[in-house]
Amino acid sequence: MTAADERLVAVLQAEHAAIYGYGVLGPKLDANTIALARAADNAHRTRRDALLVRLTSAGVTPPPTAPSYQLPFAVTDRATALKLAVQLEERTAAQWRLALPATDGDVRKIVLDALIDCTTRTVGFRKAGSLTPLVAAFPGKTD
């Protein structure tokens, strides 16, 4: 497997986890924020499907989605749901960011667009939850 495909496999796992997480947090949201979550969930599904196609056509067997994922905290209300949404976006952003150095050309463009999308969605959830700062100086950076 190429270094790029290894990174994309890690991204795919993060996307699987994000989609699972949105399924858990969605029911705790209100009418205003559920639209944000639905849009985010759809975006992650689209990225996941594109990754599946890309990896499979490269001869890589993509990791399957797990039946469940451990959540970092219990989602009990709107506030914890928004907090989880922020974490899902940040964790996915971190994996996309790690894929940037391993890719170039058109694939790097796809990776960069995904990192940017995660970041703008994070701002939406942070705004809704009155969480500050609204933007990280270096989105996706974890070290």
Binding site: L100, P101, R108, L112, V123, A137, F138
Partner: protein
């Protein structure tokens, strides 16, 4: 910085190898390190335009101090980008920074600040969008070791666009 030093070391090693093969002697070469010229660095235009962007926030905050809560954190992000870019290029983190060579248009004059608050926010949103596109282009053109930094800067600017929207 570490990566940068490593790259320079590699350049020096490559120069040494070339010298050795040209002279046929692997002991006589005392290759000079290539002179350090930050103005030719591909990131110089982005550094220059990032300084201009931060300064525009400074102007906006001077004119409309009530916007501090909203704009202050965004200005701080640009400050951090300046430090990171300067470090990457090998310049002192707080400047002064030389002008980028052959890119006088890298930081177009933004003109006078608009008079009312809504227009100032729209002005900043436009500059953030342009800045985001610049950072995206820099990311896509960058070598691997700079791609993550530039990708984060582009993403941060996109996030700023959401804050200003």
């Amino acid at each position: 910085m570490r990566v940068h030093l490593r790259r320079r070391a590699l350049l020096a090693a490559a120069a040494a190898a070339t010298t050795a093969s040209l002279t046929g002697c692997d002991l006589g070469g005392d290759p000079k390190d290539p002179p350090f010229d930050p103005t030719g660095d591909a990131l110089m235009p982005l550094l220059t335009s990032t300084v201009a962007l931060r300064d525009r926030y400074g102007e906006a905050l001077s004119a409309f101090p009530a916007l501090q809560d909203r704009l202050g954190p965004l200005k701080d992000d640009h400050e951090q980008h300046i430090v990171a870019l300067a470090r990457e290029i090998g310049l002192p983190e707080r400047g002064p920074f030389p002008a980028a060579s052959g890119s006088a248009s890298a930081a177009p004059s933004a003109g006078p600040l608009p008079g009312d608050q809504a227009a100032v926010l729209a002005d900043l949103a436009k500059l953030e969008k342009d800045g985001r596109l610049d950072a995206e282009a820099a990311c896509l053109a960058a070598p691997s070791y700079r791609a993550a930094l530039l990708g984060s800067i582009a993403a941060c600017r996109a996030g700023h666009g959401e804050v200003l929207a």
